[in-house]
Amino acid sequence: MRFTFDGHAYRGEPGDTLAAALLRNGVRVVGRSVELGRPRGVFTAGPEEPNALVRVGPDPMLAATTVELYDGLEAWSLRGKGRVDPDARDERRCDKGYLHCDVLVVGGGPAGLAATVAAGRAGARVILLDDQPRLGGDLLNSRVTLDGRPALEWVDGLELPARVLTRTTAVGYYDHNYVVAVEQRPHGERLWHIRARRVVLATGAHERSLAFPGNDRPGVMLASAARAYANRYGVRPGRRAVVFACADSGYEAARDLADAGVEVLAIVDPRPDPPPVEGVEVLAGQVVTGTSGDADGVLNGVRAGDRDFACDLLAVAGGWNPAVQLFSQSQGRLRYDEELLAFVPGTSAQAERSAGACRGLYGTSEAIADGYAAGAEAAGQSGLSGHGPRVPEDDRRPPRPPAAVWSVTGPSSEPAFADLHRDVTVADLARATGAGLRSVEHVKRYTTAGTGADQGKTSGAVVVGVMAALLGAQPGQVGTTTFRPPYTPVSFATLAGRDRGELSDPVRTTAMHDAHVARGAVFEDVGQWKRPWYFPRAGETMAAAVRRECEAARTGVAAMDASTLGKIDIRGADAGAFLDRIYTNVYSTLPVGACRYGLMCGADGMVFDDGTTTRLAETHYFMTTTTGNAATVLDWLEEWHQTEWPELEVSFTSVTDHWATVAVAGPRAREVIAAVAPGAVDLAFMRYAETDVLGMPGRVFRISFSGELAYEVNVPWRHGRALWEAVLDLGAVPYGTETMHVLRAEKGFAIVGQDTDGTVTPQDLGMSWIVSSRKPDFVGKRSHARPDTARAGRKRLVGLLPDDPAALVPEGAQLTSGEGTPALGHVTSGYASAALGRSFALALVREAEPGDRLTAVCGGEAHPVTVCSPVFLDPGNDRRDGLPLTVEVGPYQGEPWPAESPAAAFAARFQAASTPAARLREIAFEPMWEVRGADPGMGLALGPSWWLVTGNVPPGPEWVDVSDQRTVLELSGPAAEEILITGCPLDLHPSVFPGHAQTFLGRASVLLERRAPDNYRVYVRSSFTRYLAEWLLDALGGIYP
């Protein structure tokens, strides 16, 4: 395998990490340290690496010890930290996945493998994660035998009744046994979200370093790493070596290095009575006191006591630290073990258990035995002894306790590093404690020790040990800093997964979206919706377009896509009584066929939403809400009904996406209505008609948000495009949200959320007329009598006229009565008006009467303004009824636009993306009803007393037609489930999944139904269909053989 490092070409072997390949090629200096710029080399053989950080492609900073070599890899050295190149091409396809299991085993070493076997054999659903390409854990690096055979033979002979994910690192352990892991896949990472009933942590242990002068030279390496390079990769990490063995693992490394052809000059062991080692001198009771380097700073000598050794490798065995990071993240409490000289798991906080080396059981056989016990226990079995698998016997001597050495001071002038990654020395730690810092958390922040990308995996124990010595305390008293996710660095691309670019947040579109795009509309985001902001003609500025659109609405006829308004179907004998309690005004006495504008307040009395509600029948109302508040209002209604007034017989069904709505406004609007909905032409103001629209059943409301003659025409989604095209064909000028805002502001109509901010009462808006004094109660009524809301001098909605009729007063400008006086309020809306021939504004301001002079201040500008009534146009409502029909208008004769399902435009792409593994198609125009109350005996149960019935069945009398509220996307084929788990958080296992459920797919709310083992239906709201279709296409494109 060819690769380059800093532009030099090298060759490595399959299975190498980049670090192994660099050592194979004799590359000793891999980077420079972050603060001091000192040369650094490979220090470890795993994710704990503090030194060998490299840039690979768009990844600015990876540990070379974790990068699997591939042919053509290009890597670059770093000075301690990487920099993101925003222009780097990133071809990765990252995504995420959801998994569920009875037992999650983290770590595929001896303990984890044994736990997997035991739990799986007990019948549990087991997932095993391991970060390496191959299972075995430390057995891959060692030459331990089991029952006299190489230990990897035991590994290879295991049958693992589990879903095994290799190259997968568990990075986060969250509440309720939620573990997040990153899998390295050929085309990008997958972020796994795993929910487990029980977790077995078998995360092993990290060898620790110790601090001695010159301990950072390239050539100084952990003994376990030197052993791994020799045994696993067949790489000699040096030619002549000294081993600094505070723990017996150093002896194992010395033996393996010697067998690999490395000349081991000496073992330096601080402990007094070392065992004899054949052919190697052991310096008992000695420590390494310094190193020397060549011109490049690479190790060429080691000093121990009064001896100097010429060598190019110093293998350091400082002892072992159980890898307790995930345990600690799970909120488990650590305990300091005086014999192991290490922190080990103490008290668990979740349904979790550590097994093997991560709780200090370092022997292979004892780890296997512990793993079997942990796996069986996690699977719910107890008293396994005697019935479990036999534990194979290893050939290791029980280790002696390690030496309690954390740092070495000597005559050398070289710094002794505690944290290599952050360049923190023992002297830095002494400065911190000398400055009075006692807490390890404070020292961490003061010195930055442990804050590198490696999170102090090799250095943490050294820092604690040095601090203990400096403070005259025991390490257990000093404690550790908090371990936080992620365990290893995770790139933002991995976290984002598929949620990037146009899929970063669902974009909701209306049935007329393509028509707006074709007409060159400029869109604005309103919540998740894309709404046309204005419709510029060629070369037209926004101001000119809005002026033209406003003029059309004031003098002719104009049309807006109002489909985004929230729409709620409300039914039940108590619907009127319920609305009386929710709105400030009265609905129970509203005549059938009449519409009424209403305000809702929170319990605090502040305006919360507004809209019109129409009584369609005695026990049937139709509510509209603001675009941005639709979901919130539906939640609000459900909350009051379920939690306060469950005795009221009323139900709520969202039909926002079922209906496409076109607002037709202007003095000549009647001409358009006469052509598209002749049955509605004689509608009185604030009246409604259920009538044919273009020959299809529709609903027409005579509601005006502009003060002009206006209609809101509703047809099912599939006919939305046809209605829109016909209305425009009849001469209506399309207008967008900006024109809507100008028109309503000219009439002084406040927009909730723009002219209000949650601190505004109906009275503040000058709308006391809409607050019933007759009703005994409604939500917010009592708060209107609170001293603060009832007091004089509150901010109120007023109009403003700038002295300069061309000056646009920006929204948010502060209003003052003079220089040096406090602000009295602020501008909430400001526009140029074609009808008024000048600019104007709305504001919330206190102590202001019409005629008062104020100054609007924003940025460096100050606009003198005069306070006036907020109603700028037609205060007598004389324009409301428009112009009478003067000509005979026949029904619209144009060629009707065909009915369109929400995913119609995707049919060809669905077909092209479908493979034998996974097929995607839309099942269009499926009849659907939502049913409340009594069980219809068919359909899918959505909630308590709530069903969705689909198909060609005769509907019941109170069924709500929602055929256009959702569409159905069918995903089938053997890969269907593997696609769904990349976006659906539910457990789809047949033993758990009830057949259908409401949940998420990607970031869209869906109803998911399994019709057959390989056949799923996804019911998605019409406005989310475009998003979900793109999401599914991306997911289908992410299946690789």
Binding site: Y174, N177, D604, D635, E638, G943, P985, A997, Q998
Partner: protein, 77 residues
């Protein structure tokens, strides 16, 4: 990511729910003083320990329900 037991759907991820704050805050009956009303609207407990609270399964069955959660350990019972 909490796993919240919905009485209709079973255990589901926290992201499917909307939080509803302290449970058992009844709408006051009859006349209230300003102080009583302000307590209803604005004042909530914030214990370290077990807490009765409401959740709404907004992206599922749309049921409001009450659970008891330990605000330190996140246990739910």
């Amino acid at each position: 990511m909490l796993l919240i037991p919905c009485p209709f759907c079973g255990p589901r991820d926290e992201t499917e729910f909307r939080y509803g704050g302290q449970a058992g805050i009844a709408y006051p009956d009859g006349e209230t003083t300003d102080g009583e009303w302000a307590a209803y609207v604005f004042m909530r407990d914030n214990p370290k320990g077990w807490f009765h609270e409401r959740w709404f399964h907004a992206h599922g069955c749309r049921t409001w329900f009450t659970v008891e959660r330990h605000t330190v350990t996140q246990e739910i019972r």
